[in-house]
C-alpha cells in the first residue's frame, strides 16, 4: 500500500468513478424506455397529450388495463389462445429435438453424418425462401386459420438449433451409463427417459425457455396464418389494439406492458438458464 504513490491511487480512484458513471449511463439508457412505458400506461388520454409532457400521472389509475382486458378487443382470450399454442409447441420442441439428438448422438446407422448435416442445414435457409410455399401447402390442406401451422412443425425435429444443442450435451454424458442400463435390461426409450433426460435437465429448461419466448413473441407466424380475430395471439392482439386505439397511447402502452410482464417474470425465474443457453449456443456453435 505504501509503495503505491498518491498519484497512482488518485488515478485508480478516478477510473473507478468513470466506470461507475458509465455503468449508470448504460443502466439509464436501458431503463428509461421502460419508465416511459409504465408512466404512459397509468395515464389517461388527457394527461398523455399535455404539453410539456408530464413525468408522472397526476392521478394514476388502472383504467387503461381495464380497457386492455375488458374492452372490445379481448386480450384475455388472446392470452388463452397464446397459451394453447405455447404449451404444445414447448412440449413438442423439447421432446422431438431431444429424441432426434439422442438418435444422432448414441446410435450408428448408415449415412448418419449426412442425415445430420441435412437436418442442421435447414438452419441456414432464410425464411423468405420457404415462406410462400409453406403458406401455400398449409392452404392446400385447409389448415389456414387454425393453429396447426404454428404447432405441428415443432413435433418434427423441433428446430435444427435445438437438435444441435441437445446433441452437444448428449455427447458429454459417458456412454458407460447407457451400457450399464442396457445390461440391466433397459430399452433405448427407457434409457432416454429415465437416465439421460434427467441428466440434461438444465438444457431442457434452456430450450423450453427460449421456445416459450420465441412463441410468445412470434408475430409473423400468427399474422400469416390466423385470420379470425377470435383466434388471435397476444402479439397479434397488441398489433390490432395499437392500430385501433392508435391515439390512445396510454391504453396501447398498457397492452404492451401486459404482453411484456410474463416474459420478464419468466426471465427472472430462469435467468441462469438463459445466460447458459445464449453462451453455449454461440460459443460452442
Amino acid at each position: 500500500m505504501s509503495g503505491m504513490s498518491i498519484k497512482k491511487r488518485k488515478k485508480m480512484k478516478g477510473s473507478r468513478v468513470v466506470l461507475y458513471l458509465a455503468l449508470i449511463v448504460g443502466a439509464l439508457i436501458s431503463l428509461v424506455p421502460f419508465y416511459w412505458l409504465i408512466r404512459s400506461a397509468f395515464m389517461n388520454m388527457l394527461e398523455i397529450y399535455i404539453l410539456p409532457p408530464l413525468w408522472w400521472s397526476r392521478e394514476p389509475s388502472f383504467d387503461n388495463f381495464k380497457t386492455v382486458f375488458f374492452a372490445d378487443i379481448p386480450f384475455f382470450s388472446y392470452f388463452l389462445n397464446t397459451i394453447k399454442i405455447v404449451i404444445p409447441v414447448v412440449f413438442g420442441t423439447v421432446v422431438s429435438s431431444s429424441v432426434a439428438a439422442y438418435g444422432f448422438a448414441r446410435f450408428d446407422f448408415p449415412f448418419k453424418q449426412g442425415w445430420f448435416a441435412i437436418c442442421i442445414s435447414s438452419m441456414l435457409i432464410p425464411g423468405a425462401v420457404t415462406l410462400i410455399p409453406g403458406f401455400l401447402i398449409w392452404k392446400r390442406v385447409n389448415a389456414i386459420n387454425t393453429y396447426w401451422p404454428l404447432i405441428l412443425p415443432c413435433f418434427f425435429g423441433g428446430g435444427a438449433f435445438n437438435i444441435f444443442l441437445f446433441r452437444q450435451f448428449f455427447m458429454t454424458i459417458p456412454r458407460d451409463l447407457d451400457e450399464a442400463a442396457t445390461l440391466d435390461g433397459a430399452g433405448p426409450l427407457r434409457i432416454y427417459w429415465q437416465i439421460l433426460l434427467p441428466l440434461l435437465k438444465p438444457v431442457c429448461i434452456t430450450v423450453m425457455l427460449f421456445t416459450f419466448m420465441g412463441t410468445w413473441n412470434d408475430f409473423f407466424g400468427p399474422m400469416l396464418y390466423l385470420y379470425d380475430m377470435e383466434k388471435y395471439t397476444v402479439a397479434l392482439g397488441l398489433q390490432l389494439f395499437s392500430s385501433s386505439y392508435g391515439s390512445d397511447y396510454g391504453a396501447v402502452m398498457a397492452g404492451a406492458l401486459v404482453m411484456t410482464i410474463p416474459t420478464i417474470l419468466i426471465f427472472f425465474v430462469g435467468q441462469k438458464y438463459f445466460v447458459q443457453g445464449i453462451v453455449t449456443g454461440s460459443v460452442k456453435g
Partner: protein
Amino acid sequence: MGQTRTKALKKKRRWDHNAKVGFALVTPAILGFMLFCAVPIAYSAYLSFTDWNVFKAPNFVGFKNYIKIFTSDYLFKESIKATFSFAFGSTVCSTVYAFLLALLLSRRVRGISIYRTIFYLPSIVPSVAMCVLWSWLYNKDFGLFNTLLGMVGIPKQSFLAGQSTVIPSLIFMAMWSCGNTMIIYLAGIQGVPDSLREVVRIDGGSYRHELIYVIIPMVSPVIFFNVLMGLIGSFQAFNQAFMMTGGGPNNKSLFYSYYLYSVAFQQNKMGYACALGWVMFLIMILFTAIFFKTFTRHIFFEGSES
C-alpha cells in the same frame, strides 16, 4: 464370392437392430426437414420461374422474374438500399455498444450482477411490444426523445417520419436490445486467461493495452461469428417496417422481407415473390462467402478448433 458375403454381412451389421432404433429416433426430424424445408424449397424454386398470381394457373416464364428484379424493379433497389443500410448500421452499432457494455460488466465491481440484469432487460421485451413502445417514444410532439432533446435545446426531430432519420432511429432501437450479444461477449471476455492480461500489466501496460493486445484479439472469433449472425438476422428484419413505418417515408425503410411480404400477400404475385426470396438467399450466401474470405485471415483462433 467370399467378398460379397462379407459385404453382405457388413451391410447387415450396419442395419442391425441398434441402427434401426437410431434411425427411427431421427425419422421425425428427417421428415420435418423434408416437409417443411426440402419440399417448400423445391416448390419455391419452381414457382420463381412462373407468373403465378393465385387466381389463374401458373405459366412458365423462364428467367423473366429474375431479369425484372435486376433490371426494372425500382422498389427492389430501394429495398436493398434500406435493408443494407439498416443491417450494416445496426450490426456495427450494436456490436460496439454490446462490447462496451460487456467490458463494463467484466470489471469487478460491487452490484455488477444487477447491472447485468438491467442491461439485458430490453432484450426480453417482445418485438411487437417493442415496436409499439418505440413508436411512442419517437412520437414527434409527445414522445420521450423529443422531450429530452427539448430540455437541452435541440429542436424537434421527426425520427420515424423523416427520410434521413428513419434508419438511424431503427438502428438506435436495435442497439437498445443488444443484450444477447452482450452476454456472449461478456462470456468471451471472462474466458480470456488472467495470465495473459497479467503479462501486459507486468510490462507496465494499462487497461487500454490489455484491451488492444489481449482482450480484443482473444475475443475476435466470437466477434466475427456474432457480427455475421447479426448481419444475417438484421437483413431479415420485418416487424419494424410492418408495425412502425410501413416501409416509409418514401421507401426509406422498405426492408427486403417486408417488400417480399407485400408483393406476395398484398399484390398476390406469388411467383415474383418466390424469385425475390431466392435473390435474397443468393445475396446472403454471396455475402457470407465474402465475409469469410475477408475476415478469417485477421481472426485469432485458439488451437485448431472452430
